[in-house]
């Protein structure tokens, strides 16, 4: 309705407005570039250009490259050979590492921030803003800085903080960076430390959207604090939980940097090899771009399938339609 009114106004303007003193030719080009039919396209043109060159072209190219053998100055189509080569031990190691990492980070990065947000939202807590900021500050650090810190925390020496702490429980020092399970632990810790605060903010926003009236009427019905949590807070938070989980799943399968800052791309026995790390290793370090592109396509498919499945299970799609 407002749009109709709009068009009316512009027409009035195009007929009646304009500078009469100007020569007609100039007026027409100016009028053309300034017409409401053209201006929006001028405004969105940077996006369209960037979309065509930096998204659409590379997407198509990624699929094409995955069927090619790419040597400097010589590109040959080799059918599905890249894909046939993919299913090798290193890839499965990367796949299992990435899957474990994703499950662990999703678990930590949904559960802990949820609890923290509920605590922070409670009317009993003081200095909320300060605590919120404190939880958030780690998100400002780059992954490299986080890597430096955690490498030093978990240094091999007996006196490093991590080894001192397990020493309290009578365990021997661990060379954290070079052992399978602890390498994974380090990756998960780096990611959790950096993303915790952001997820807390999402949940806080979700909590603040819950109408106070719901709690009031529950009070009238005599519900206790746990019933209120179970029947009001949790169901109301479901959309935001689905959202946070989805981005954590996608982020999990894209993991690379946490591994890179720990092992610079070459972890002992591939304990830190991730899918994107494998893509980097093959596509960039080994310069086998066709094979790398095929790995990329597989990663895309995995992320696509897993997130669709997750959204189907949780009914995330239905919610969007409502």
């Amino acid at each position: 309705m407002t749009n109709k009114k709009f068009k009316q106004n512009t027409k009035d303007y195009e007929f009646g407005g304009g500078n009469i003193a100007e020569p007609p030719m100039r007026k027409r080009t100016r009028g053309f570039l300034n017409s409401k039919n053209v201006v929006p396209y001028v405004f969105v043109s940077p996006f369209i250009i960037s979309f065509l060159i930096l998204t659409l072209y590379p997407t198509i190219q990624a699929f094409i490259m995955s069927f090619q053998r790419i040597l400097p100055g010589q590109v040959t189509f080799i059918g599905f050979q890249n894909y046939e080569r993919i299913f090798n031990p290193a890839f499965f190691k990367a796949l299992s590492n990435t899957t474990i990492y994703t499950i662990a980070t999703v678990f930590v990065l949904v559960l802990v921030p949820l609890i923290l947000a509920i605590l922070l939202d409670s009317k009993f807590v003081r200095f909320k803003t300060i605590f919120r900021s404190a939880l958030f500050i780690p998100s400002l650090t780059s992954v490299v800085v986080a890597g430096i810190i955690f490498r030093l925390f978990f240094a091999e020496s007996e006196s490093s903080i991590a080894n001192q702490m397990i020493g309290l429980f009578g365990f021997d020092p661990v060379s954290w960076q070079y052992t399978g399970w602890s390498g994974m632990l380090l990756m998960v810790l780096i990611a959790s430390w950096r993303w915790m605060g952001v997820n807390v903010l999402y949940f806080l926003a979700g909590l603040q959207n819950i109408s106070k009236e719901l709690y009031e009427s529950a009070d009238i019905d005599g519900a206790n604090i746990f019933q209120k949590f179970l029947y009001i807070t949790l169901p109301s938070l479901k959309p935001i939980m689905v959202f946070v989980t989805t981005i954590s799943i996608i982020g999990g399968f894209r993991v690379f940097e946490e591994s890179y800052v720990l092992w610079e791309g070459n972890s002992p026995g591939n304990i830190g090899l991730t899918l994107v790390g494998y893509l980097y290793q093959q596509g960039i370090q080994q310069n086998d771009m066709g094979f790398g592109a095929a790995i990329g396509v597989i990663i895309l498919l995995i992320i696509f399938i897993v997130s669709i499945l997750y959204l189907l299970i949780t009914g995330g799609f239905k919610r969007g339609d409502e």
Partner: protein, 279 residues
């Protein structure tokens, strides 16, 4: 009776949260303290609980300010790249978002759909073809090459669109009647109204570009063009021969951002909660 109970809960909860907040900040605090420790000791022992207070000194910082020319070169590169990324991406993304929100034109919904789709596509999948493209158009090892994929940010477009949807359209009509061109309406009337969204996106884009790792890692070849994260990562070797620059240098990449955060908290929060979608 009930009041007294409330006070106890209040302080108990506050103390619990304070402990958690301390744990969250502990890694950064210990990094800062460690940056005053002798680098050889740090390399040997890692970060430790026990601190020899007599050994703390400004040596690492003195070294970095007097000897580490390449560190400042990286710092300068990061500043230039981040500043240009902020300016260009804000300029382009705001125009796109504004247009998607306030004009009615053919293909608008399709373009908006593309914005959402791009947010969903993992960058890593496009990385190799983009890298190839950068080689072909000779943008490898240039500032432009580092910035190009960030310039029209779909997240920023999305954010600007959401923000512009809430602006009063009557103002546009009023400006038209006053004889303002469509471009004038955007730059003189509407963009100033979108200032808070510019602040939030400046911070998101700045932070993203300052901390960006994977793409610069591919595009930059020579030491003198390294950005801070890439440069610092080259110092991260198991031999630890550069720990003086590494630790003090790491502290100095974080401190400016934490100060900015203190000043513009609100915008950081707005920017990062949208930006979380794409790392």
């Amino acid at each position: 009776m009930k009041k007294k109970n409330d006070t106890v809960t209040k302080w108990l909860l506050t103390i619990i949260i304070a402990i958690i907040a301390f744990i969250a900040l502990f890694p950064l605090i210990s990094l800062i303290i460690s940056s005053f420790r002798p680098s050889t000791e740090l390399m040997r022992d890692g970060i430790t609980f026990s601190i020899n207070w007599n050994e703390l000194s400004l040596d690492n910082y003195v070294y970095i300010f007097t000897q580490a020319g390449e560190y400042w070169q990286w710092y300068g590169n990061s500043l230039i790249v981040s500043a240009l990324t902020i300016i260009l991406s804000l300029f382009f993304s705001s125009m796109v978002g504004y247009s998607l929100a306030l004009y009615n034109f053919k293909g608008r919904n399709l373009i908006f759909l593309f914005v959402l789709v791009i947010i969903m596509i993992p960058f890593e999948v496009l990385m190799l073809p983009l890298y190839q493209l950068m080689i072909d158009i000779k943008l490898i090892n240039t500032y432009t090459g580092i910035m190009l994929p960030l310039i029209v940010s779909p997240t920023a477009v999305f954010f600007f669109r959401q923000y512009a949807m809430g602006l009063p359209q009557e103002l546009m009509d009023a400006a038209r009647i006053d004889g303002c061109t469509e471009y004038g309406i955007f730059f003189k009337v509407m963009a100033p109204l979108m200032l808070p969204s510019f602040a939030a996106m400046a911070i998101l884009q700045g932070l993203h570009s300052w901390n960006n790792f994977l793409w610069p890692l591919l595009v930059i070849r020579s030491n003198d063009l390294f950005t801070l994260p890439i440069g610092l990562a080259t110092l991260l070797t198991p031999y630890g021969n550069n720990y003086d620059i590494l630790i003090a240098g790491a502290v100095m990449t974080v401190i400016p951002i934490v100060i900015l955060f203190g000043l513009f908290q609100r915008y950081f929060v707005a920017g990062l909660t949208t930006g979380g979608i794409k790392g």
